[in-house]
């Protein structure tokens, strides 16, 4: 059953994204996620953006539940269960981290743990997440915006490719929209660089029984959400199709 937690701090991160912090005394590994219950409304998956004794989720307004979650104020209660999923495998390899949009959320605990260079991708300068905090951990931070309002004018994959071609990276760790991750994966494959990508699918149970989150033969909730290159190669659905809540196949 979910644990009730209390919003400690509500921190707007960008025009559509808010971080909520709360005390919750459960061990969480970087890359794991929670099921967040907004009573009366919905229960939705959210990555953990701080994994210390004080936890946080960083929520982008996507629809009804994420908006309601964003609107919670300090002192308000919501409920969480988990943590779920495998998380990133953090090792000593020279790493490039690539975060697209709110995909930065599960990457923050990674950046706080290992040394890495970072690409942050956003649509526009007012949607760039965590640049300031990340600058405390990373020597190299590069920004890309689709509209060119800040940093590299283009997408995060193009920027990451140019870094990869210079940097001698031994792995890429990333999270973001699936289409970005798909091209990033192709870019890594071409260069023979292994990657770990955190994916999303529609989640109901999060404990690996309902089958809602299937990606090929993998359960994103338990076998993922992080997949490495070896497993991604076996997943022809990746970047191509997903399932709706009824289990119908839809093109991405």
């Amino acid at each position: 059953m979910s644990d009730a937690v209390v919003v400690k701090e509500r921190r707007p991160e960008s025009k559509d994204t808010v971080t909520l912090t709360f005390d919750w005394d459960v061990h969480v590994a970087p890359g794991q996620f929670l099921m967040v219950w907004i009573p009366g409304l919905d229960e939705i998956p959210m990555s953990v953006s701080s994994v210390g004794p004080e936890k946080s989720v960083t929520v982008r307004k996507a629809g009804e539940a994420s908006s309601a979650l964003q609107d919670l104020q300090p002192g308000d209660r919501f409920a969480v269960r988990g943590p779920y999923g495998n998380g990133y495998n953090l090792n000593g390899l020279k790493t490039l981290v690539v975060g697209g949009g709110v995909g930065m959320a599960p990457l923050m605990p990674v950046l706080r743990t290992i040394y890495a260079d970072l690409v942050i991708g956003a649509r526009s300068s007012d949607e760039i997440l965590f640049e300031e905090e990340a600058s405390r951990y990373c020597n190299v931070i590069r920004i890309s915006t689709d509209d060119g309002s800040q940093g590299f004018h283009g997408n995060a994959v193009q920027l990451a490719e140019s870094l990869m071609d210079e940097g001698g990276y031994e792995q890429v760790i990333a999270c973001g929209p699936e289409i970005m991750l798909y091209y990033l994966f192709q870019a890594c494959e071409r260069r023979g660089i292994p990657c770990q990508l955190s994916l999303e699918r529609y989640m109901k149970c999060a404990v690996g029984i309902c089958g809602s989150c299937m990606l090929g033969k993998e359960r994103v909730c338990v076998d993922g959400p992080v997949f490495d290159s070896g497993r991604l190669r076996m997943l022809p659905e990746f970047g191509r199709s997903k399932r709706d809540p009824a289990g119908r196949l839809i093109r991405i």
């Binding site: 979910s2 009573p39 009366g40 409920a79 404990v207």
Partner: protein, 302 residues
């Protein structure tokens, strides 16, 4: 050599473990994975006429003794699922299609479509306790059960099994209705009527309020149901409810089950639970002198 093969009606299984309906069985690839994990047969998610999203989240609550769920019968609908099924045929292990509907005619229609797509058997979900208008109401009334079984038997050649609800004072009379209507087997049990309330939020946790209890909590209830059914029925019984290890499986077989299904344990233990159970059963049968599953069936009645 211990022989683990079983036959339930005309369905041949390499071992007596089956994947229970509703568990990682909505897509062809997930069904294949469960076969690879060691399931002797698999049952699909309960399929209805049309696509259905199911209930809104939360639709499951983890509790120490199992799960309480109200998925609300999500499924992609008969046609789309039939394609999913065809795409994995011929499959390495038999696939039983679980189906639900609001009328005997629709049950028959869906069953025929599933048989056509390659299902080796049909499981009638008469017992889902949390989808209003479907399930429970039908599954506790012998006359309705009889009508549905007959209609489906007329519509398909593959074996037809009916899944029974434990939420009745008399599961045996429902089992008899299935048998008398020509059903090939009964499956017992589905989940128990249940609810979980959050004290902090002063409300039921499930969006549907009501749910069904599964997992270790219900094992002794399932074993007793199978024991009672075995005393009164001649058709085979598939045991299900809270099976997590070989001992649990042995209890069901000794109570009278021909084979058994595993649901919640696929989450609580993992997909490797199929191989673990089968290996444990084999060791036990070996050292206690049971040459095959049949020789162990119903021995708790002696």
């Amino acid at each position: 050599m211990t022989d683990l093969t079983v036959r339930i009606a005309s369905i041949e299984m390499a071992n007596p473990s089956m994947l229970a309906s509703g568990i990682l069985d909505e897509t062809g690839e997930s069904l294949l994975r469960m076969m690879t994990a060691g399931a002797g047969a698999v049952v699909t998610k309960s399929i209805g006429l049309a696509a259905h999203d199911g209930h809104r989240n939360p639709c499951i609550v983890e509790i120490p003794t199992g799960y309480v769920n109200a998925m609300g019968l999500p499924n992609p609908g008969m046609e789309e699922f039939a394609e999913e099924l065809s795409s994995i045929m011929p499959s390495p292990a038999p696939v039983v299609a679980s189906i639900y509907a609001a009328s005997a005619e629709d049950f028959a229609l869906i069953a025929a479509r599933m048989e056509n797509a390659g299902a080796a058997g049909i499981e009638l979900n008469l017992s889902c306790p949390h989808a209003s208008g479907y399930g429970m109401e039908v599954g506790i009334d012998p006359a309705s059960v009889s009508r549905i079984v007959s209609a489906v038997k007329d519509a398909v050649k593959v074996p037809v099994m009916a899944k029974l609800t434990p939420n009745t004072a008399d599961i045996v009379s429902i089992g008899k209705a299935v048998q008398d209507a020509g059903g090939d087997a009964v499956v017992a049990i589905n989940t128990l009527k249940a609810m979980v309330i959050s004290p902090e939020f002063a409300r039921p946790v499930l969006s549907n309020r009501y749910g069904g209890l599964s997992g270790p909590a219900i094992k002794p209830v399932g074993v007793r149901a199978v024991y009672d059914l075995y005393k009164s029925l001649d058709i085979p019984i598939v045991g299900v409810g809270g099976i997590e290890n070989w001992r649990d499986a042995a209890e069901y077989i000794m109570a009278g089950a021909t084979c058994f299904q595993v649901g919640s344990a696929v989450g609580r233990v993992g997909p490797e639970v199929f191989k673990d159970i089968t290996a444990g059963l084999e060791l036990f049968m070996d050292s206690y002198g049971y040459p095959d599953v049949e020789s162990m069936r119903g021995v708790a009645h002696e």
